[in-house]
Symmetry: C2
Subunit: 485 residues, 2 copies
């Protein structure tokens, strides 16, 4: 069937689920056909995906005004503008929760799922491509399924996936993942073949990752963290295998993972969301024995090599539904080391990962909450300043809270590392200001903290100044007026 | 051994763990002896408990300046003052996490554990009294153990407890709790008898609960929630057994639970922290088939009856370590309905449970985060106003975030119920203002929201006014100036 014909199954007001997670494995043809049609004949839908889409699909769907509601994550600048203008209702969710809510009928009934596949088994089982995301549950829960059979996808993908669907609650058995390499399901998504309403042949490619090479600040962050891991090994709190590692998407997490190639580490494992270039560098180095994720997103060169040589990695990789890769119970059970990026943090260690100046959505909370809350060691990294020093990423009071101080064990900037474990708020502030804050902004934060402490409280604040740094940024375009005070 | 002699095992600078959870089953003699000694010869310690202590022990230890550091929870007004003055370093923790951190050596080494017991088995196994809390892991991880053998505790307590200790990570097997009535461990705390350094005979009583009878607002909150449960049954999202229930401590949660006695509910279960009067009323009514908790805290009259007739309840009760009662993975697996109390909420549904005006600690986050994050349905209740209307419990921007909007499905005040599932921030604000806010403060919040929306953003705010309600409360003693604007 043509993409246009298949897209006719999707009508105004419907709830539609699509494959796609961190620019990997998204349905490519049907969304384009939808955008095309909407330009001629307007309609809108609720679109749920795994996470972000590649190939500018969110931009194209936004421009065509197809998106009335969008969840649970995005990273597109056009869609971001529409969200912040209040034009698209964006429901920012913990990535492990979306299908749980859908299964419990708390998000309505899914009409159509559109899933990219590299193969269909004889019984109608769908073999996903470079991501699993929420595809399995979307296909199972939707009334109708459209499959985009991507003929350009490497044959070697078959067998990498491990599809397991938790039972309905309250009668759910424990999910039997006990290590990153636990295989507990099937290598395909088992659905009733009669639900397959259309098969569309495609051959589009995933968008490459946009991770940048480490700059000197990013490298300094990685170095602080590598040193910390060594100290933890010396203190007997970690072994040379550390613990299963989760690393958020992006340049900083990638640089930290690269840093593990050198140093006294061995038999490392990953239990993460997205497998990036650094994952394969670590596998190639022999330091990493196994990597579990929900998607593979690589630079163009790495992608060509990995997809060609998948057999080389076959026994050391699993792709899981994001409900499993991010599952609170499994993250807690495995005792993960979680490394995620903060947009800003406050002096008490509360973290904002999503809202610029408390109001404008950047991307979404993604999986960071799933991991940070339940990990054995929750690490957040950020550069101490942004926009050449116009912005301090350490502020008196974060303008939005995604991760409360309870869920932040370690904060790292290029300035240094703050070990917050077992500390009370006043102690946390001291350690954060002394170790992480840029020298430029340190005196101003010290002044704020001293004045707040003089007023008292478990978590001292001067409420009338708590958000003044963000107010300055909003009105003056920078926080430099705070330096003068 | 006398309490004074046993207390000599505890010396300046030590890390000490004690039994006690929501005023139930705390060690009673040794803490008093410590306070006594410190009045004569000052010293201080780090004190970890399960949760709050009864018998004014936290007050007495604070007055004697025994507490240098205190975790993970408290409810005492004298200790609260010392915490807010910065005199006691209070580490407010998710109640499921304390022993996990201790086990991983992230909180130092525990020197001495002091555990109230109703019996000691021949092999040195400790049978706790009315709470389990963190007692099991404290006894296992401490260098030395002091047992307070309470001769006044009812014999019927033996057999109620189910002690299970999760394995060390990363090689942990799934914890096999699959229902509130799963028994997976031993009825006593298994420790090496050679570690028992002292046995002190006591006969003190637990403090009774201080839950008040429902007032008309509390009753209205309960009524809204019962109506909501009925609607969820009608919509096919819940059955008449609902889901395993967790109810926070306090008057409001108790009133909601009482409300379940009438109405179309049957074969209810609880998977909660503290079992209150309402739990036993529900058991007596036949509506509740099983209750799992970490402690029993009752009014004086109910306590006499329950402790006398424990045999009657024996097959329908389990007391577990708080690491299990609050375990993120188990809460997620069972699909719990979590009902907790907010101090204040903002128009987007972020909840503050701990900090008055963002600075002064009330009690602590307790188990609310363990449950709210991982439940199938996370409900927060609060009266719409406090102090006779001087305070609106719904504000533009909470002065402290304990639970982010992602973790709050339903908000209820005496005014009504806001169902926030699947809504974007701007939609959440509309539903919260219309349904939960007191009529007195509704126009002011509508003004704020309208002005914020005019400025834009995914989560619109006027930063310079966001905390003005709390500033007014701090400087003028009330929020009434906001009404005039
Ligand atoms: C937090 C997050 C936005 C950081 O992104 P990043 O690309 O690694 O970080 P950068 O330092 O490059 O910052 C991105 C932008 O924000 C700006 N920025 C950084 N700190 C800022 C601050 N405190 N205030 C305002 N803007 C800030 C940067 O200047 C940059 O702007 P630009 O795009 O105009 O150049 C990103 O990690 C994220 O979306 N996290 C949430 C989801 C998540 O954690 N997922 C992990 C599991 S996959
Ligand atoms: C939030 C919490 C403090 C509410 O306690 P509560 O006793 O049920 O609620 P009340 O309405 O009686 O309020 C308690 C006090 O706070 C005051 N208060 C209520 N809302 C307030 C607000 N928004 N701002 C300032 N003070 C407020 C009340 O006036 C009352 O003051 P008083 O003690 O001087 O009379 C309590 O539930 C708590 O500590 N929760 C956190 C731990 C938790 O949730 N555990 C659950 C798992 S056990």
């Amino acid at each position: 069937m043509s993409a246009e014909q298949a897209a006719e199954l999707i009508q105004d007001g419907m709830i539609v689920g699509m494959s796609g997670f961190t620019r990997a494995g998204e349905a490519k043809a049907v969304p384009l056909a939808l955008a095309q049609r909407a330009h001629e004949k307007p309609f809108s839908i609720t679109l749920m995906t795994g996470a972000s889409l590649g190939n500018d699909l969110d931009a194209k769907l936004t421009e065509a005004k197809v998106l009335a509601r969008r969840m649970p994550f995005q990273v597109d600048s056009t869609l971001r503008k529409a969200i912040n203008a209040g034009e698209v209702m964006f429901i920012d969710q913990h990535l492990s929760e979306t299908v749980e809510l859908l299964r419990n009928k708390q998000l309505g009934k899914m009409d159509v799922a559109v899933i990219e596949a590299c193969a269909i088994t004889e019984e109608g089982g769908i073999v996903p491509t470079t991501s699993v995301g929420n595809s399995a549950s979307y296909a199972i829960l939707a009334d109708k399924v459209i499959i985009e059979l991507n003929l350009a996808s490497p044959a070697g993908l078959e067998g990498l996936h491990d599809i397991y669907i938790p039972q309905m609650r309250p009668n759910r058995q424990p999910i039997p993942v006990v290590a990153p390499d636990s295989r507990i399901g099937t290598p395909y998504i088992p659905i009733d073949a009669s639900k397959i309403a259309a098969i569309v042949i495609t051959e589009g490619k995933d968008s490459p990752s946009n991770v940048l090479p480490a700059d000197s600040e990013t490298q300094a962050i990685a170095d602080h963290l590598i040193r910390f891991f060594k100290e933890e090994i010396d203190a007997g709190r970690l072994t040379e295998s550390l613990l299963p590692l989760q690393a958020g998407i992006g340049t900083m997490a990638n640089a930290v993972m690269e840093g593990l190639i050198e140093g006294p580490f061995d038999r490392l494992t990953m239990y993460s969301e997205v497998l990036q270039d650094s994952t394969f560098d670590l596998l190639d180095s022999g330091k990493l024995t196994f990597a579990s994720g929900s998607s593979i997103t690589l630079s163009p060169k790495r992608n060509d090599q990995v997809m060609r040589e998948l057999d080389k990695y076959r026994n050391r990789l699993i792709l899981r539904p994001q409900e499993l890769s991010n599952h609170p119970g499994i993250v807690r059970r495995l005792g993960i080391i979680a490394i995620n990026t903060a947009l800003e943090a406050d002096i008490y260690g509360n973290v904002n990962s999503t809202h610029v100046c408390g109001t404008r959505m950047m991307n979404g909370i993604g999986g960071s909450g799933d991991f940070a809350r339940n990990s054995q060691l929750s690490i957040f990294v950020t550069k101490s300043i942004a926009k050449g020093g116009d912005i301090s990423s350490f502020v008196p009071f974060v303008s939005h809270v995604d991760h409360t101080e309870h869920d932040v064990d370690i904060l790292v900037s290029e300035q240094g590392l703050a070990d917050l474990r077992g500390l009370a708020p006043r102690e946390r502030a001291r350690v954060i200001i002394d170790n992480c804050v840029a020298p430029l902004y340190r005196p101003a934060l010290n002044r704020y903290f001293a004045e707040a402490c003089a007023r008292g409280g478990h978590t001292p604040h001067c409420l009338e100044k708590a958000l003044s740094w963000h107010q300055a940024l909003n009105t003056e375009g920078n926080m430099r007026s705070l330096l003068a005070e």
